[in-house]
Symmetry: D2
Subunit: 492 residues, 4 copies
Amino acid sequence: MTLAETSALQFKVADLSLAEAGRHQLRLAENEMPGLMALREEFGAAKPLAGARIAGSLHMTVQTAVLIETLVALGAQVRWASCNIFSTQDEAAAAVAVGPDGTPEHPAGVPVFAWKGETLEEYWWCTDRIFDWSDEAAAAGAEWIGPNMILDDGGDATLLVHDGRSFELAGSVPATAADASHEYRVVLDTLRRSLEASPDRWTRIADELKGVTEETTTGVHRLYELHAKGELRFPAINVNDSVTKSKFDNKYGIRHSLPDGLNRATDVLIGGKVAFVAGYGDVGKGAAEALRGQGARVIVSEVDPINALQAAMDGYQVARLESVIGDIDILVTGTGNKDVVRLEHILGLKHLAVIANVGHFDNEIDMAALETLEGAEKVEIKPQVHEWRLPTGRSVLVLSEGRLMNLGNATGHPSFVMSNSFTNQVLAQIELWTRPEEYPVGVYVLPKHLDEKVARLHLDALGVELTVLTPEQAAYIGVPVEGPYKVDHYRY
Amino acid sequence: MTLAETSALQFKVADLSLAEAGRHQLRLAENEMPGLMALREEFGAAKPLAGARIAGSLHMTVQTAVLIETLVALGAQVRWASCNIFSTQDEAAAAVAVGPDGTPEHPAGVPVFAWKGETLEEYWWCTDRIFDWSDEAAAAGAEWIGPNMILDDGGDATLLVHDGRSFELAGSVPATAADASHEYRVVLDTLRRSLEASPDRWTRIADELKGVTEETTTGVHRLYELHAKGELRFPAINVNDSVTKSKFDNKYGIRHSLPDGLNRATDVLIGGKVAFVAGYGDVGKGAAEALRGQGARVIVSEVDPINALQAAMDGYQVARLESVIGDIDILVTGTGNKDVVRLEHILGLKHLAVIANVGHFDNEIDMAALETLEGAEKVEIKPQVHEWRLPTGRSVLVLSEGRLMNLGNATGHPSFVMSNSFTNQVLAQIELWTRPEEYPVGVYVLPKHLDEKVARLHLDALGVELTVLTPEQAAYIGVPVEGPYKVDHYRY
Amino acid sequence: MTLAETSALQFKVADLSLAEAGRHQLRLAENEMPGLMALREEFGAAKPLAGARIAGSLHMTVQTAVLIETLVALGAQVRWASCNIFSTQDEAAAAVAVGPDGTPEHPAGVPVFAWKGETLEEYWWCTDRIFDWSDEAAAAGAEWIGPNMILDDGGDATLLVHDGRSFELAGSVPATAADASHEYRVVLDTLRRSLEASPDRWTRIADELKGVTEETTTGVHRLYELHAKGELRFPAINVNDSVTKSKFDNKYGIRHSLPDGLNRATDVLIGGKVAFVAGYGDVGKGAAEALRGQGARVIVSEVDPINALQAAMDGYQVARLESVIGDIDILVTGTGNKDVVRLEHILGLKHLAVIANVGHFDNEIDMAALETLEGAEKVEIKPQVHEWRLPTGRSVLVLSEGRLMNLGNATGHPSFVMSNSFTNQVLAQIELWTRPEEYPVGVYVLPKHLDEKVARLHLDALGVELTVLTPEQAAYIGVPVEGPYKVDHYRY
Amino acid sequence: MTLAETSALQFKVADLSLAEAGRHQLRLAENEMPGLMALREEFGAAKPLAGARIAGSLHMTVQTAVLIETLVALGAQVRWASCNIFSTQDEAAAAVAVGPDGTPEHPAGVPVFAWKGETLEEYWWCTDRIFDWSDEAAAAGAEWIGPNMILDDGGDATLLVHDGRSFELAGSVPATAADASHEYRVVLDTLRRSLEASPDRWTRIADELKGVTEETTTGVHRLYELHAKGELRFPAINVNDSVTKSKFDNKYGIRHSLPDGLNRATDVLIGGKVAFVAGYGDVGKGAAEALRGQGARVIVSEVDPINALQAAMDGYQVARLESVIGDIDILVTGTGNKDVVRLEHILGLKHLAVIANVGHFDNEIDMAALETLEGAEKVEIKPQVHEWRLPTGRSVLVLSEGRLMNLGNATGHPSFVMSNSFTNQVLAQIELWTRPEEYPVGVYVLPKHLDEKVARLHLDALGVELTVLTPEQAAYIGVPVEGPYKVDHYRY
């Protein structure tokens, strides 16, 4: 099979138009991703990632395309899959697959295995393919090579390696449990096929891997668990908890995309309305600020008394959802918990109130109860916008079927926000690849001076002038002139 | 010709699906237009507009559909055209044409002459048709009847009557001047056809008309000019200058739709960016508030020292565009003047800065100079979003070809805002129709108690509790308990 | 009597220290009153007020001192009294009386009749003295001269002239009615003494007067009433309704002085508290913005549905006081009406809730009912701050005895705000004095170009760059390049 | 000596009036310190601090008085000194010394050694006295007892014990170095006197002490240093880094007291002015928010790129001081560093610009350079407000001589803010006293569940309704229903 043939995307790209459209968008996105572009500038000649073979599993969007091309510019070889069956932007995938100078027939880009609307079977096939470097081996005249780095979002790539290896050690994939989820059945089938083809493929891959950098809370959680059980096979950097990731991505990303999604979905005036925000973490803080900035009256709920006190000190009414349910026009949930909006709440809302989840899974809202409610009727207003007519005679508007509406009704985090996250990713890849002696197997956050560097690379684009400490001032407060400037527990 | 045949829209409506989609949207919009719905409640039985035959010329949107059905609910007969060739939402037109209970074959709705993307010839033919009440005459067994009220937006309907009548008096339509605009040629041709068919049609219509209610600054300006020249033929109510129109529509409408349009057009993060707002009238105030609410740093320009001082007191930097041009990421113009953004400004902007007009015509930005600039190249990113590559090597993003981006890239004012404007329209129609003795030929603003009534009808939907004066308190400040509460020059 | 002797203030000034302290404050205030200083610059050489003899009655504060010295710099002669028995700042009065170069023995300043804490008898004696120009007559070698202009705040000076003249025409001051207020008794006594000394003094003065410029709502109201009854004797300019007075003074003045007064009075944290603002006119808008800016949750009440809708659109909860009384920590009233806070409200407040009036008279709060409430006890915490222990077992904190707490607990409007108001005053004096032909007897607002000029003179101090229209742009929107820019009913 | 005689305060209290005034203020403060009052409620019966003898060294203000009486209510015996020579509020000291039911002759309160305006000699004598429990020993019939707990602010009390003990071990106090500061000379003299009187007093005290709870950054820094050197003698709880201390105290405290101090000092309108805030930590965040909330245009400077990016994302211009020096009306410094405002900055400011330090020491502003500047003149406008006339012909206004103006020109943190800090203090005292086994010698932050408890105790007073997790929800996110809810590195 040739390089061109390995790219699943080619079957989707009949001509250059999709890739060209993607290329336009990449160029616009590059202007909004100054951190990544600065890394190309700084490291493009030195190529610190030379020799790195990265298996990437992260939403195949325009912003990720800029990330991928940055990794390549720094010397890495890359294979890529999306980490979600719906999140691929086909034009971005096409642009990356074809490459800046290639054609669909002779792509010069990165093998990409992702398209919008994969089945679960296709999804795990794609994920499997980022670990199959036989084309690269052939090109290099080697018998076999595997990836030596993972860039992960949610931990699916890391899971496949760990499970694959442990089944290989056990000699076989266990029988699928009767109550296994559909997805886990597919995972097991995928690994069964792999073990049939090679009994030690994952063991070889695991041995080869120098590390993984992980993007999300969920993925990080899995890594800490693996490590706690002594099963983690290679070092991991937790990119999620960089300040320039967690404090920026959640707060400023949601501040942007919540009203964007509400507008695209409903065109309802936000000003003057009563908006309720469940949760006053970073997501809730960004949501509340955005809604107030549009002239809504915002009420917040919290379970953590510290965050509740912050909300009060920021001038918001803090109330339980059930106390004010009948006043709410726009109900936003950003908790990461489940059953935050329950059936009794839904039934108590004003007619045509909007329900929007910017938290985590769709179980933040008890969609299951709504879907089985006798006498309820679901009417599609447009894709991702449904009116649920309730037995009370009132209706509610549910966005994105209760899933993340900033993804479903808007376009997710804007490029500038992702530039912060992805600059952390690239620096983390460089750390693990170039300084392995500093990172024995374990889970690490990025050192503070690199976190500060990420911020630093985004200042010029915003016209920010940074003040420089004199040596005397630096000595006076006991920090190096060039940073890092804060103790680890500083809260920003 | 049957009623069904007179509806231009029928040719566009092959089946019920378009009308059904429109009907869904109407139902949602009704929930956001409490003023209109309250008027149906209050006046639905009394039908104060019984006998009124309204020729309506106003953007044929979902919100206008709610307006039209309100007029009908109050007893009026209505014929409708759009006042702009692009602004019709076909599903709204279809829903109104078919009516709540009709079918395309047997419509029970209002004759609507409007579709998205009319030619100028079609546009003026449509406008002519709202004055042709022969179907209604036939249905009533009358030889001839004309409309007796106009509801106008921009003054095109009013223009046709006045020009038609004056040409009839002169005996013929004058020859078209060599330098006449394409549009005025079409107007003259339209009137020529009319005079050929009937030498006194507009004279009869003008005699029949009891008044016009006008929505916009431009239309109001024309009315005052006509009246100043002694040529106005019937009384006019200036709906534009109701407080609940001008202070609400501009400020809160733009606050909503400016960020909406920016997001849909570019997906660029607004937070942290430098945004420049030209003009700090109501539009500029709304724009600046919206951008600050998203975390942008906002700089304002003004020519009026009072508004400039207001901007400063609201915490904005006030500067000339040329002083800060190189710092700007997002350039918004909301002045209603021309040549506000000139070529030298465009050439001085940052790479990929966004240019957005929320003011008035496309000449706020000197698009003509840009279009003829040697070495400039226009690349369509997507509809209504163009990258202009400049000879400087930089680019700018121009939204909606320099025209109103809140219409072109977003969806215009939301229903709640339009509910305020249109409630003024309906009350103005009732005033002119039911109390003609109060309105000799002239141009009037709506009495303050009706302006207050418009606001009053929108409070419940927002959960606002209004405080009621005691008779003693009312006497103390010298106002009636039920209002009006303010002197005419009160500035709100 | 010498000039020195006529200055009541000299009796209060034992040495130069008071005047020197005042002089320091004047210098600081001048820096914050750029409008007045610009007028000195512009008109200091031409002296347009030469020949004007101004009788001034306005709070004798540091800011007024800058006003007085501006009038003098423009050529006027001036005599001054305060318009309130408590509002004089003695050091300001001393500084003005002594003058920049004088001594208490040989004052080179303006005769000032004002000190902090006058009795009503002293107050009206002082007001009478600003009409007694015998010293100036003596200095000029004239037999008699009177003032020819009034600068008034509240209308007391204007009242004295009109009542004095009409009693002279009647031949005597009428007997004091049994139920006359203490203050009106004093007025009548004052006029009785005047008629005894001269039977035609006020008639001569009234004939001499070329006009009055009036600062306040109350005074303007009296002027319109006088004019409506045909009794007004000279033209009046209503300074109160200049945009740069009413929209600035109320909104931005209160935004500043409300939290200032709350802090000085109570030191209670505003952040996180529930604050209620009665009234959403300019005062209420400024109050609400200030409290939100400090992190309070703000609830607003309104009787006017338009203002209520504005409050909702600005994101505030709008409720009746009685609906939320038990949640309120800080209760602010800014309505200008009476009985806004009634006993049932006071009894329903939280323990130690603060009650602050920034509206008008102390009857906004039903202090009379509180003072006669059985079982209530008043405890002075410090001057102008009283705890009222209620029969409920709870207490409330009443500021400034229910009177204007921005005056009683803070220091009133800051200099920059007063510079706007007083620049209007000076321009109004120049208008009436230099263009009497334009102002027949009647009540006028200042022409818009002068209102704009007031704003213009305050821009440089704030670093505001004003944009200048090109002649083409001015023509396009139909205004002169140099303004005025707006129609009269424009609402800003 | 009797208990009454040991109270230094008695010499200041001629009659009950001072104590009575203080008692009024205590009562008002108690209403604003719900955390402390809730602890009295919760623990008043159990008296967990029974047996604790606390030597307290912390600003003797009204708020501290509420803290002291809370400690007593929980069973502790207490002796108190201030930790600053100027910060005592005499009426608060008097109220505490006299006690709720005592008289100056027969005080029933706490021995307090503090008055406003101590000399350094007096200050260290006072600090020494909180370790002299001979009265209590006499009352208990014991030969000797010492304190067994310290509650410290800045570490002076802790210093005295550690230095005293180490000099005792060495056998004598070392000779004072020639270049020793005045204050350290006084410390050495104080210890010399102590060693003369008893050669092992501090050794006994150190042995007795079960722990210290420390309020400030500075004190905490000293503790970590001591511990790093192995010299710490007893466990310490770092109260400063509780979330409810550091994030609340700095941000919300400064938001309140910065504008308060500016207003009391200068009465200058903040709205419309250009304000510069050096530093965007918690202090800078609060300062910027307060100034924006008053309508100022705020420019921020930062050395840390993360904080700089936060400032930009919050919509502030971020610039170096020297870049914008000529535009600034109000210059605020909140960095905790030195030489932030240097002479070249001061000379470049606008005439009468205000300089305000809310950071740390007076060396944030180079006052030394200003004081020795040839041709500069210092004029006192009023206490704590000085005009410095510069050789440039311009002046600047320096508040509080360059020291903390929120203390010098305003009244420091309001009670509600201090209630958070002090509730942490009390919980920390209970921890160390009742669970010594959990705290071997070392420096600890308060466990998160207690930090959350502090917040929890302040919610009711603000009307905050806290949402309660269901057991299922708690399990889902892996936290106990009752908290703690967050990982240690969560940034709030």
